[in-house]
């Protein structure tokens, strides 16, 4: 093992996380390399100094604050939850059924008996005009209407002049 390769493994060695084969290889290298051996010892010292750092305890109010923030979270409800049986859905359904039944079963105020309907038709001015128009002879002599696609004879001089615009 070279000193360069050792760099990636030195911490694993210090932590005791190397596999057996790698550990033996490392120890073989350390036995012949004073610089690497010194580094390993210094890293061990650093690791043990880091162990001296005291822990702090969360304040007594920490849990209370977390619980309060969690409790303040809005309750999520999916669309499917709406379909689940609930008093709200049952009430809405019952109201809808009542409305449909009321509309379907109520007596109609707009039904007209046949005699009244004939009288109304007789008195309608539009129907009188209809009789006049259907029997009006001059209208039957009119030429057939010209199709819009047919070419029209327009005098050259009367054709509108167009000029290209910029």
């Amino acid at each position: 093992m070279s000193c360069g390769r050792m760099e990636n493994k030195v911490l694993s060695y210090v932590d005791g996380r190397l596999k057996e084969g790698e550990r033996l290889e490392m120890e073989k290298h350390l036995a012949s390399c004073t610089a690497c051996e010194l580094r390993v010892n210094e890293f061990r010292a650093v690791s043990s100094l880091l162990d001296e750092m005291p822990q702090i305890a969360p304040s007594p109010a920490f849990d209370v604050r977390v619980r309060a923030r969690v409790a303040a979270e809005p309750v999520k409800q999916s669309w499917w939850a709406w379909l689940a049986p609930s008093p709200r859905v049952a009430m809405a359904g019952a109201l809808l059924a009542l409305c449909i039944a009321w509309v379907g079963l109520r007596p109609s105020n707009y039904a007209v008996n046949p005699a009244t309907e004939a009288e109304i038709n007789q008195n309608m001015p539009v129907l009188e005009n209809y009789d006049v128009l259907t029997n009006f002879e001059p209208l039957t002599d009119l030429p057939a209407p010209v199709a819009q696609d047919a070419p029209q004879d327009v005098p050259q001089g009367d054709a509108p002049q167009t000029s290209p615009t910029m």
Binding site: E42, M53, I56, F62, D63, R69, V70, E73
Partner: protein, 199 residues
Amino acid sequence: MARSDVQLMLDVKSGDEQSFELLLHRYRSPLVNFLYRMVRNREQAEDLAQEVFLRVYRAREDYVPSAKFTTWLFRIATNLALNNVRDTRHQRMEISLDAPLAPDSEDGDERPIDVADQHPDIEQHLVAQARSRMIRHAIEKLPEKQRAAVLLHKYQELDYNEIAKILECSESALKSLLFRAYEALRVELAPLVAQHAKQ
């Protein structure tokens, strides 16, 4: 038998609030300590730790146990901590320039000592306090990503693979990052390291 983190989280997902309490109890201290060492401010560390738990709770319905729970938890915590460090860098520089040389009162581990009590081991206590402050400052001087790597490796004892996932880098890049961090600590703590080697 204690339920695993993943099982607890799956129980939270199915609406068991008590399982969330167990996760809170299990991870509040590691999270607060990790965040405290990252952001160097106890109040901010607690706020961020609360935010981590809140995010875990919010994500409960979409939780899929594709990775270890701790990887997910510390990834949230690390991202929040790194954002906080970046956002407050300017503010911290101003504070450090104006700060008195006395130990910070907010540090739980560095409370001022009542000299008048004539405690017999007061000198020893002061030496230990200075030593502790030196170690803490050496950690604080590390670049953020190196600091996070050291804290996750040393204090949370996570696998390299897990830390690499949290820091979104390869395992080989993580080992190199940790090596550079330990090198920096070795230089920064040289007097203590030499003292330690003599013992």
